[in-house]
């Protein structure tokens, strides 16, 4: 079954490789602006957080944000473009591959793209801040990023499958995706939330991703609850993306 998925993934990687320079330039601009504004521009006005300088505190979150947004954008716009504009999904579907192949190929393309973008920004930020990290921590941090990219790639594919108008795709990103990223403690510690709000914030999988990933990279602390939440969310979003795509394709 995976043969078709590999073909589609290889196609997407060929296109990504061809646009590598412009992709890297675009992907660096957004998190670097945040870093320069909050990490450097405002650092004199913001105290250290739990003993960590603010410029360092935001680095893990900025890398995670770049990775998952990259995965979401690539999957949602990619799926939408292939389905509505180019109609290449129809061409894929008259070949001896399954609709599951197509969605898996697209999810893995979004995932790879997100991972690549996250790592690019990570290298750049680590170089800028002189951030010291332990390699063992980095491996677990990458596991968080891996699961995050998988979840956001599945959600992106789901949106690209269900949404026909491009402006609505942009609205979902502005009204749903960005808030759940920003509210998950990207720029501040979760302890800033009132006690009665905190349980709700902790129930959102992006909190498991951003807070969990930061805890790992800064303190080497692995929260099994966060990891389980992410694993479960990845499985559910994958199953949902595949099912919805299958249903949509067969009319």
């Amino acid at each position: 079954m995976m043969h078709g998925a590999v073909c589609i993934w290889q196609r997407d990687m060929l296109v990504l490789r061809r646009n590598l320079f412009s992709e890297v330039a675009t992907v660096l601009a957004f998190p670097l602006t945040f870093f320069l504004t909050f990490g450097l521009g405002l650092k004199g006005y913001i105290q250290d957080i739990e003993g960590v300088p603010y410029a360092i505190f935001v680095v893990p979150g900025l890398i995670s944000m770049t990775a998952v947004l990259g995965a979401f954008d690539d999957s949602s716009w990619g799926m939408w473009f292939h389905r509505i504009v180019q109609k290449t999904i129809e061409e894929y579907r008259v070949n001896p591959i399954t609709v599951v192949d197509i969605i898996i190929g697209k999810i893995f393309s979004g995932f790879t793209s997100g991972l690549f973008k996250g790592i690019s920004v990570g290298i750049c930020l680590l170089f800028l801040t002189g951030f010291q990290f332990t390699f063992a921590y980095l491996a677990v941090y990458l596991l968080f990023i891996f699961l995050g990219c998988m979840i956001f790639s599945c959600l992106g594919s789901l949106c690209g499958t269900l949404i026909d108008k491009p402006e609505n795709l942009g609205r979902v990103e502005a009204v749903v995706v960005m808030p759940i990223i920003f509210l998950a403690g990207l720029f501040f510690p979760l302890s800033a939330y009132p006690d009665n709000v905190l349980p709700y914030i902790k129930a959102v999988p992006t909190t498991a991703l951003f807070d969990g990933a930061r805890e790992v990279l800064l303190d080497g602390k692995v929260d099994p609850v966060y990891l389980s939440m992410l694993g479960l969310s990845a499985i559910i979003s994958f199953a949902l993306a595949v099912r919805v795509f299958e249903k949509k394709m067969h009319g």
Binding site: H3, R11, L14, Q86, P96, I97
Partner: protein, 312 residues
């Protein structure tokens, strides 16, 4: 058709419903191996829906269909390895070069690099695209894109070809070249063609089914279908101006079955019992430039059956 002849494509009472719209209604068809079968009908008649069902893109609401003996619902993957599809729209990947578009298709069919490179070279040459193989399709004219779509459908040398309005947007020369290629495949491949171009259906098809509002309304060879329209005489009249006025006047005559203007010429269908003299009497001889009889066309058949033209 002979009893022993194997049917490559079969539909039994196929219906497709979208909400309250019945796009295809209880269609039954049998297409023998090695022929060019044409589905002729106006836009919105249900042709593309039928092709989408046969190419496994859509599931029928009811009824069943088989391609090469395989069921469209149960053996979709098997069917997709047998068929090549030229869709109505040029759905090329604009981020891949012309050559890469064909290679991606070949890879999905699990062809080996040694066999697909040879085949891709062959098809690019056949379609006159060798010089442009490294260009992206969005730099191509509509005709070149169409030729690339046709080439893509042929990469894996399919046993059955589905052509949905294959020559739409092509200039006459390119259209003729593609028709000749399809004709060269006759007997070796089964071709299922949808078109609203009667000339295309007439030129290519061994059997034709005329479809309207989701249901077939006539079936046969081009000659058999035209016989249906032979209960009348067909004339083309050229007049100096006032063509509209003459058409209106002709329509009031009891011995005229239909009258319309096409490409500047008045098309008149005279009932068998009518006579040409009575028709000519209606025309001021100063206006009359030319009058000629013609053979009935598939357009006349459609008009006779539905009271409408194919491209209304």
């Amino acid at each position: 058709m002979g009893v022993a002849m194997k049917n490559e494509i079969e539909l039994r009472q196929v219906t497709k419903v979208y909400g309250s719209l019945v796009a295809v209604k209880e269609v039954s068809l049998a297409v023998p191996k090695g022929i060019v079968f044409g589905l002729l009908g106006p836009n919105g008649a249900g042709k593309t829906t039928l092709v989408n069902i046969l190419t496994t893109l859509l599931w029928p609401t009811s009824g069943s269909a088989t391609i090469g003996g395989y069921d469209v619902l149960r053996d979709a993957a098997k069917i997709r390895s047998l068929i090549g599809v030229v869709p109505q729209e040029n759905n090329l990947d604009r981020y891949l070069t012309a050559r890469e578009n064909l290679i991606l298709h070949a890879k999905m069919h699990k062809m080996s690099p040694s066999s697909y490179h040879r085949r891709v070279d062959e098809l690019l040459s056949l379609m006159g695209l060798t010089e442009r193989q490294k260009d992206f399709p969005n730099k191509f004219s509509t005709g070149m894109q169409r030729r690339l779509v046709v080439a893509r459908a042929l990469v894996h040398d399919p046993q059955i070809l589905f052509l949905d309005e294959p020559t739409t947007g092509l200039d006459p020369q390119a259209k003729r070249a593609i028709w000749d290629y399809f004709l060269s495949l006759k007997r070796k491949r089964t071709i299922f063609l949808t078109t609203h171009n009667m000339e295309e259906a007439d030129f290519l098809c061994d059997q034709i089914s005329i479809i309207d509002n989701g249901s077939p309304i006539a079936f046969g060879t081009s000659a058999q279908l035209k016989e249906m329209a032979e209960s009348a005489w067909y004339y083309e009249i050229e007049v100096a101006g006032k063509a509209e006025e003459y058409v209106q006047a002709f329509q009031r005559l009891p011995f005229i079955e239909s009258s319309s203007i096409q490409d500047g010429l008045i098309q008149v269908c005279l009932k068998k019992e009518g006579n040409l003299g009575s028709l000519v009497e209606q025309i001021d001889l100063k206006d009359l430039k030319k009058i000629s009889s013609r053979q009935p066309s598939l357009e006349d058949v459609f008009l006779k059956l539905t009271g409408r033209r194919l491209r209304q």
